[in-house]
């Protein structure tokens, strides 16, 4: 049997705060990071428009610079800066800062779309200002692997380093890949997760044009829900071979016990029951979660009509009679949808919830939708005491790409 993998560090930055603890505390206390605010595309675009969204506060950059003890300025797109901030916190908690981490360390981070803000600026110059040149570092700032390169350079990680992309499941796939690399013997430890910074004038317009965005807020599994809310940020965990963690005296925060992946191979925006159930089942089986009396489920829970009814049906289909006993949280109602970073942030908040014995509340709930009934939604305004010792994190992406992760409390 393969050696167990332990989580020894966690980091997170989102509209809810700049650390894992701040994110957990806000989610636990029912604080939302979502608010209606102007998104002004500048003098070459259409008029400014108000959208509900959950961007990261500007003070994140000075906080990161203070943590690293050096200037970052505009040398990184925000999506890479968020990744670096989360990775720094996670490695700090794991007591892995200081010496370069070397070739037995990996960094795998997911994102959905790359450095959109940098790209928007470049295109404003070309198409708005009719300039012939864009910033010479546009490519290295935009590229989807910029976050992992920034992390590798900062922490001296010379083993496997790459990005994963599967839209809203990107960071779940990253964590699953990191675990697989360690299990395959290609690394002893990894920092894994994801980041995204799509809460830009162009990003918001694109989501709005798709008709996927709520006009008010994210209301997972609720009657009257009308869509997702764009959030942004980064989240990361440190995964290690158990013997590696023990040898250096690291404290296990939780155990990683499985991942499941599937593709619907069906539709760009409509999910399938089979795809969701397959990913969840594969994730649950190795760690025995299907037999647990209580599993904390960190739902994908986007607040869109289609996802939430499909996910509720998938939970009922997989867990049968037990489904009604598994508390279901959906913290996108607080931090918005961080796209490629969502699964990692929900894993961090979920692991904090397991440790605290408290499930964070679903916000914005207006009333029961019969199509989402039969699962145990944790409704606000306050956190609920739970007995669960295991966590299932779901990520079901546009394009039909699914990935679920399973953990056990330490």
């Amino acid at each position: 049997m393969a050696e167990r993998l332990v989580v020894t560090g966690m980091g997170a930055v989102s509209a809810l705060g700049f650390t894992a603890e701040e994110n957990w505390a806000a989610a636990r206390d029912g604080v939302t990071g979502i608010k209606i605010q102007p998104f002004d595309p500048g003098p070459h675009g259409p008029a400014s428009v108000d959208f509900p969204a959950a961007p990261v506060k500007d003070a994140a950059l000075p906080a990161l610079e203070a943590a690293l003890g050096k200037r970052i300025g505009n040398s990184l797109d925000p999506f890479a800066a968020h990744a670096l901030m989360a990775a720094h916190e996670a490695l700090g908690q794991a007591r892995l800062l200081g010496a370069p981490l070397g070739h037995r360390a990996a960094a795998i981070m997911g994102n959905g779309i790359g450095g959109l803000r940098t790209l928007e600026k470049a295109y404003e110059r070309l198409f708005g200002l009719k300039a012939t040149k864009v910033h010479p570092l546009t490519i290295p700032r935009v590229m989807v692997s910029a976050p992992v390169s920034a992390i590798a350079i900062e922490f001296g990680i010379t083993g496997p380093v790459f990005a994963t992309a599967s839209a809203c499941a990107s960071s779940a796939h990253a964590i699953a890949q990191a675990a697989a690399l360690i299990t395959a013997g290609l690394a002893d430890m990894a920092v894994a997760g994801g980041s995204e910074a799509m809460a830009s004038p162009g990003g918001l317009r694109a989501w709005d044009s798709l008709g996927a965005m709520s006009e008010s807020t994210c209301r997972p599994f609720s009657a009257g829900r009308d869509g997702m809310i764009v959030g942004e940020g980064g989240a990361a965990i440190v995964l290690e071979r158990e013997s590696h963690a023990e040898a250096r005296g690291a404290t296990p925060l939780a155990y990683y016990v499985g991942a499941g992946m599937s593709s619907d191979a069906f539709h760009w925006t409509q999910p399938t029951l089979e795809g969701a159930v397959t990913a969840m089942r594969q994730a649950c089986e190795p760690g025995g979660l299907l037999d647990d009396d209580e599993v904390l489920i960190a739902a994908h829970g986007t607040g869109t009509d289609l996802n939430d009814k499909n996910e509720a049906a998938a939970i009922k289909h997989l867990f049968g009679d037990k489904a009604a006993h598994h508390p279901v949280t959906a913290t996108k109602s607080a931090h918005g949808h961080l796209i490629g970073a969502s699964a990692a942030l929900q894993a961090v908040i979920g692991l904090k919830a397991l440790a605290a014995g408290l499930a964070p509340p679903i916000l914005g709930y207006l009333g029961e939708d019969p199509e989402c009934a039969g699962i145990d939604l944790v409704l606000g305004p306050k956190a609920r005491a739970i007995k669960a010792r295991s966590l299932l994190v779901n990520a079901f992406a546009f394009g039909g790409l699914n990935c679920s992760l399973a953990f056990r409390a330490a």
Partner: protein, 81 residues
């Protein structure tokens, strides 16, 4: 130094993420840690701000900061003339 020269050094500090206090006009670019990637960012920012064009081979890393500022001054003055 003129206020414009101070401004140019501010831009260099900002774009190359170098501590402003370390930007001694007598120091060579290579000695203050300004690499080729930093240099393209600096050139881009200065071209933007002053509406000038700086040829690719205008500077080498063995130039001093003072020499670089003097060359840029000349280009800005040439444009204004």
């Amino acid at each position: 130094m003129s206020s414009r020269d101070e401004e140019l050094i501010d831009i260099i500090a900002e774009e190359a993420l170098i501590d402003r206090a370390k930007l001694d006009p007598a120091a060579k670019l290579e000695d203050i840690g300004l690499d080729s990637v930093d240099l393209v960012s600096v050139v881009f920012a200065i071209e933007e701000k002053y509406g000038i064009e700086i040829a690719e081979d205008s500077f080498t890393r063995s130039d001093t900061l003072g020499e670089v500022v003097k060359k840029i001054d000349a280009l800005i003055d040439a444009k204004a003339a």
